[in-house]
Amino acid sequence: MSQVKEPKKRKMSLERRHNLTGWAFLTPATLMIAVMSFWPMIQAFILSLQTGKANNLKFGDPLANYVRMFRDNVFMASLGNTFLYLIIQVPIMLILALILASMLNNKNLRCKGLFRTAIFLPCATSLVSYAIIFRSLFGVDGFINTVLINLGILNTGYNFLGHATSAKIVIIIALVWRWTGYNMVFYLSGLQNIEYSVYEAAKIDGASPMQTFFKITVPLLKPTILLTAIMSTNGTLQLFDESLNLTKGGPANATITMSHYIYNMSFKYVPTFGYAAAMSFLIFILVAILAFVQMKVGDKRD
């Protein structure tokens, strides 16, 4: 009796020990995320219910900050700008990335590696670097103006970053330049999971490249497309470096993003942490809602 029982008992304790080892392994990382991400998120919410300047925060009307947001013209402008970038830039970028990825997935393509490296290269530059490169390219005495003057299209340099519409367009161009290759890589790795014979079969059946693209590539890549859409939405709602370094939010806050405005309200002027936290909490809600909507839409087409 005891001989049978003993190994079982030892095995149980071993299992328990392994179980505890597992918890020990994951505890440091889990604790750090809890302290550095979840706890501050809760604090941001508490902070968003407080009003006052600098560290003189007090609880008053809990919704004061949220009401203030919708009367704040600059914040509404930043909200509008962020959504403009989201609605125009994200689809352009994702469609472009998808087209490029399906071109590069072609087995007979030569210089594939060269094209892939070139298109992917912008990802290696930091956000600050590329923002400043684009700021310089589109400056009044920048390269783009020099070319346009030499071609006789312009007489004097056009202040691209000094006019609201053109400044927004420059930001969109810059964002597409920086992130298309990044998304393309996701699609390329997604395409590698699709059997190439599917494409060959479609070709034999006389499908045009267009039909192949819409009938095979897009449906099979749907999970990846969903993922990149969520990531891009998340990234766009948090745009900061570009707004600060490419256009400095100008002219007259015409291109400012929500994160940039939150930064200004908390660190540039006399800090209004409560109000800034309320705005940042709104971003969190928007990220959550949009991710939820995208997942729902993504599911439906199945």
Binding site: M32, S37, A124, L127, L137, V147, A277
Partner: protein
């Protein structure tokens, strides 16, 4: 047949144009760093002779050396701790997984939705009241542990054979030894990918260092470059040289580890 051929030609044209557009701003940056500001404005597209002058001028107006050292210091320390802590967790979540751990993992994944701007203000207040402004620990702490890296290592631990673990246990290795002596050497490519992506993110991070670092001697390269555009007159040659220096480490890593970089950004998703 001619139709396919025409399609092919079109494809090459499109890819060439897109490639040129992708590379041009970087080429222009490189060329501008070697030219005088006036020549950059005139549209110089060939290497000039002003690299040394730009270098001297850049050194005289900003502490590039310090910023370079700072950026390397923050990025290397952060990458080291991130790799150890997150791979340990990813391994723990996968190898010893049970209902409880899976539930914790799902909660951690929700953390991917938390926007950094939202946690930035409480984090700033936290580090500021702990008197940790301008310190390395404050720069690296918030991004050491990320759900993304944990997920990536959990995914790779899935392909780690249980036989090896059993064999090692019979050989008398304890669990932590198995992790360090068996798992890490087998998963070199995952570590390379994770290292590339973490180092690049750390190097390029701008918002948080800008918030937490207020003394010039603690500034990072991206902060230094951004500050160069503050004045009214911009010397394009000097500015582009600074941008070049700021981009060089990540571009070199990109070329050396291109494959693992691509694996890194998509790795966690597969």
């Amino acid at each position: 047949m001619t139709k396919t051929k025409r399609m092919n030609v079109l494809m090459y044209i499109v890819l060439t144009i897109v490639s040129l557009i992708s590379v041009f701003p970087l080429y222009w940056m490189l060329i501008s760093a070697t030219n005088k500001s006036v020549d950059v404005s005139r549209g110089a597209l060939l290497p000039g002779a002003a690299l040394i002058d730009n270098w001297k001028s850049l050194l005289s107006q900003s502490p590039v050396g310090t910023a370079m050292i700072n950026s390397f210091k923050y990025a290397i320390i952060l990458t080291f701790f991130a790799l150890v802590i997150c791979s340990l967790a990813g391994y723990g979540f996968e190898i010893y997984h049970d209902k409880g751990k899976d539930a914790v993992m799902s909660i951690l994944l929700l953390g991917m939705m938390v926007p950094f701007v939202a946690t930035m203000i409480p984090l700033f207040r936290m580090f500021s009241s702990a008197k940790l402004l301008n310190t390395t620990i404050a720069v690296i702490m918030p991004t050491i542990s990320t759900p993304f890296l944990i997920m990536m290592f959990r995914q790779s631990a899935r392909s780690f054979p249980h036989d090896i673990i059993e064999a090692a246990r019979i050989d008398g290795l304890n669990e932590i030894q198995i992790f360090f002596r068996m798992f890490i050497p087998t998963m070199k490519s995952t570590y390379a990918a994770a290292m590339t992506i973490t180092f690049m993110n750390a190097w390029n991070n701008y918002l948080w260092p800008k918030v937490i670092l207020q003394k010039e001697e603690t500034f990072t390269m991206p902060m230094l470059v951004a500050n160069l555009t503050e004045g009214y007159v911009t010397d394009y040659g000097v500015l582009m040289l600074a941008v070049l220096l700021c981009s060089l480490p990540t571009v070199i890593i990109f070329f050396l580890l291109q494959k693992s970089f691509a694996e890194g950004i998509t790795g966690a998703v597969k």
